[in-house]
């Protein structure tokens, strides 16, 4: 029985649920939304806007580097732009967009109605938006940070980075980090406690596994960057501590260690959800369960652990003790094993599947090509002697764009083409999708492949120009041309989304005939997700429908109620009433943001943040009687 039939069969229930999950009208209603689809979509759209801004910055850099001694940007501006580009892509695009996909899809995939903490979810979004606004408001008032997205001390210290740019950068990190922690906490609890009955951990979809691992990584990695950016750097800059200021006895390497203890896992935080997406897309378009589910899950988890053990490979050139070098070389190469296992599983799945040449699958093949190459250059960089030559050159720029764009953006675009019907209720144009893919794929390789060679021929990173004698001009010009091809691909994608959203053919609940639960609800999914929460008896409930036709009954439809199940076996435990619409997350976020914005200028900002935040939280937790919370 599909959800659509149910919907027809039980219009009254649907109506009741729709009333319980409705958002309030008007702008006040808009800011008090707590449903996961709305917030997830806001995350995704906001993140794509930042992607666009980051992309424009990238184009400006490429124009500047197109020829030797170009004068399109001056050095100060160039430094600011590459800093903001890196910061935007890492903190304002990559992590949030993955969180957005998780927030949107996870509850649907595990068969529940919302995330475990809807108001925290809303708070996380508003804080993220506030952080992004802080950086770009600063950028448009000429207060851009210019010490790189890594902001190494002492260059980022008060002496060498005058002005407020770096303070803004450091505090912006706080925002995105609070937001990431909120989402991580709520996704972990959602995945562990809100799964549909019968969905044991062994039957969890790959994407949810990926989000679970990613969320745990966020919880362990993000506090490190808070220590680096806020406690070390911001305090050094604003209240005169000397944690990382060598001129007064601080240690600049301490900053690097703490920063990369976050910075390396960050790469995997971005990239592990993409692995989950790749698994989902491969399953759907090869029309078969993924081969080696346990191996895939274990390697995801192992990835999560190992990612914390190799941060030092960013610091090989600082001169480490030899035993440390050997250890971190080995650890860095170990991550290639777990990634390799996943690639092998996917290859086997593709090999034995009936492939459907959709745009989504195109992106997966592009992902395999680019990501494997990025992974192999990563193996090169794990080797200390090679790293000492390639470190901080364009070779590294090429490497991490291969890994991050290839490993993240391609699966993400694939995911967008795959889940588009669920997001919008309409099919995305496959032909335009394929054009997008080819533009991106060709443009990408055209941009970043020459950079490998540039790096080996001695072109360092983060240079705003180069002298003509070096012979780097032609390859750089090629890279610039490639960047514009990528931009064309981006425009094609936006056009496709806008067009298909309006004029695409209406989508069935399960247009791809995929196996996971999100495809059992209507397209687009209703705010309440499912009319009856499903009961699951296999890993691919829609492919094995004969196994279980059970549904959960007994939940009240006139309020936001979900079923809590046990952690391992997903046996029904108790009913939980989720809070409805609330304006307090927004107000709390505004209060915190005002204080944190001001803390860029004075330490007393923290007191303001605490006071205003507390007011918000009091309102947020004000007990309501009776306890059944209506929208």
């Amino acid at each position: 029985m599909t959800a659509l039939e149910e919907l027809r069969a039980e219009p009254q229930q649907a109506e009741e649920l729709a009333r319980a999950w409705k958002n309030r009208p008007g702008p006040l209603g808009w800011i008090s939304v707590t449903t996961h689809q709305e917030l997830g979509m806001r995350y995704i759209v906001t993140a794509f806007i930042f992607l666009l801004l980051g992309g424009i910055e990238a184009l400006m850099m490429r124009i500047q580097l197109a020829s030797a001694e170009n004068t399109f940007l001056n050095p100060a501006r160039y430094n600011q732009i590459f800093t903001v580009h890196g910061t935007t892509m890492m903190f304002l695009f990559a992590v949030p967009v993955m969180e957005g996909m998780g927030v949107y899809l996870v509850p649907l995939m595990i068969g529940t109605r919302n995330v475990a903490f809807p108001r925290l979810n809303a708070f996380g979004y508003w804080i993220y938006l506030a952080g992004g606004l802080l950086l770009y408001a600063a950028a448009f008032t000429n207060t851009m940070p210019d010490a790189g997205w890594f902001a190494y001390s002492p260059l980022s210290g008060p002496q060498f980075s005058p002005g407020k740019g770096v303070d803004v950068w450091a505090q912006m990190i706080t925002f995105t980090e609070i937001s990431a922690l909120c989402v991580a906490v709520e996704l972990i609890v959602t995945i562990l406690r809100l799964r549909a009955p019968g969905m044991t951990l062994n039957r969890l979809p790959m994407f949810c596994w990926a989000m679970l691992v990613q969320s745990f990584m966020i919880i362990f990695a993000m506090p490190a960057v808070m220590i680096a950016s806020t406690i070390f750097l911001l305090n050094d800059r604003t209240i005169g501590t000397h944690f990382v200021n060598p001129a007064e006895g601080g240690d600049p390497l301490l900053y690097q260690h703490v920063f990369w203890f976050f910075g390396h896992p960050e790469v995997y935080i971005i990239f592990i959800p993409a692995l989950g997406m790749a698994s989902s897309i491969i399953e759907a378009f090869s029309r078969r369960p993924v081969i080696g589910y346990p191996a895939l899950v274990l390697s995801l988890v192992a990835n999560g652990f190992i990612a914390f053990g190799l941060w030092v490979h960013h610091m090989f050139a600082t001169g480490l003790p030899q035993i440390g070098e050997a250890y971190f070389t080995a650890a860095s190469m170990m991550i290639a094993v777990t990634s390799g296992v996943q690639i092998f599983c996917w290859l086997a799945t593709l090999w034995s599947g009936r492939l459907q040449p959709t745009a989504g699958l195109h992106f997966i093949f592009g992902f395999l090509f680019i990501f494997v190459m990025g992974g192999l250059t990563g193996v090169m960089l794990a080797s200390i002697p090679l790293d000492l030559q390639a470190h901080d050159t364009f070779f590294v720029v090429a490497h991490f764009h291969y890994v991050l764009i290839g490993g993240t953006l391609f699966p993400l675009f694939g995911a967008f083409h795959y889940w588009f019907p669920k997001f919008t209720g309409r099919m995305i144009d496959q032909k335009l999708g394929k054009i997008t893919f080819w533009l991106l794929f060709i443009g990408f390789n055209c941009t970043f492949f020459p950079m490998h060679i540039l790096g080996l021929h001695g072109m360092p990173r983060r240079v705003y120009t180069y002298v003509p004698e070096m012979g780097w001009g032609p390859a750089n010009l090629l890279a610039t041309i490639g960047a514009f091809i990528i931009a064309a691909g981006g425009i094609c994608f936006i056009a496709n989304v806008l067009k298909s959203r309006r004029f695409g053919t209406k989508a069935d609940p399960n247009p791809w005939d995929a196996g996971t639960l999100e495809w059992s609800t209507s397209s687009p999914a209703q705010a309440y997700g499912f009319i009856h929460l499903p009961v699951v008896a296999s890993r691919y409930p829609l492919w094995d429908q004969e196994k279980s036709k059970d549904i959960v009954t007994g939940l009240r439809n006139d309020r936001r109620e979900v079923l809590v199940t046990t952690v391992l076996d997903a046996e029904p435990d108790h009913r939980l009433v989720l809070p409805g619409n609330s304006i307090w997350p927004f107000l709390t976020a505004v209060g915190f943001s005002i204080g944190l914005y001001y803390s860029v200028f004075a330490f007393s900002g923290y007191w303001i943040a605490t006071a205003l935040g507390m007011i918000g939280i009091i309102g947020w937790f004000w007990p309501r009687q009776p306890l059944d919370i209506r929208p």
Partner: protein, 171 residues
């Protein structure tokens, strides 16, 4: 170039003095020897009031940091330590014999003062003198707080060592 134009427009709209970076200041003029400040309103023969001189780097963070660097480079520290004063007078104080307005400080650096302060007018280019002036004023919290970096721990010590003072020594 369109991005540049849009960016230019937006920045012009909201650009703020604090973050401005004159990497290429106007070609250094030969300095106005000691004409910057009006030390007395009473002029012989009732001369015409002179145009007031303003510090081009007022409130500018980059100028303050450049000034801080030059303060060390040009060996101001040799006499004034980090600002606490040694064989020269401290530069962190309330009472200034020759005034602490930008124009006064500019004059002091350009012309020198009796009892030891040399004249730097012939040596240091004008824009760098203004940077030094801005830095010295920032030490006294006369520049906006948002443009002033945190002060050195040793800023008020009257020697160049960074060792902590031994116990019992009067502060």
């Amino acid at each position: 170039m369109r991005f540049a134009a849009i960016g230019c427009f937006l920045l012009a709209l909201t650009a703020c003095e604090r973050e401005r970076r004159d990497l290429r200041p106007s070609p250094a003029k030969v300095v106005v020897f000691g004409d910057a400040a009006i030390q007395s309103q009473i002029l012989p023969g009732g001369g015409a009031p002179r145009a007031s001189v303003t510090n081009p780097f007022q409130g500018n963070a980059y100028a303050i940091s450049e000034g801080q660097r030059l303060f060390g480079w040009y060996n101001c520290t040799g006499c004034h330590a980090n600002g606490g004063g040694a064989i020269g007078p401290p530069l962190i104080k309330d009472h200034w014999i020759y005034g602490n307005e930008p124009a006064n400080l500019f004059d002091t650096i350009v012309k020198g003062r009796p009892n030891g302060m040399p004249s730097w007018g012939a040596k240091i280019p004008e824009y760098q003198i203004w940077q030094l002036v801005t830095y010295i004023r920032s030490m006294n919290n006369l520049e906006p707080r948002s443009a002033t970096p945190e002060r050195l721990d040793t800023i008020e010590q009257s020697s160049r060592t960074i060792l902590p003072k031994s116990e019992g020594e009067p502060r």
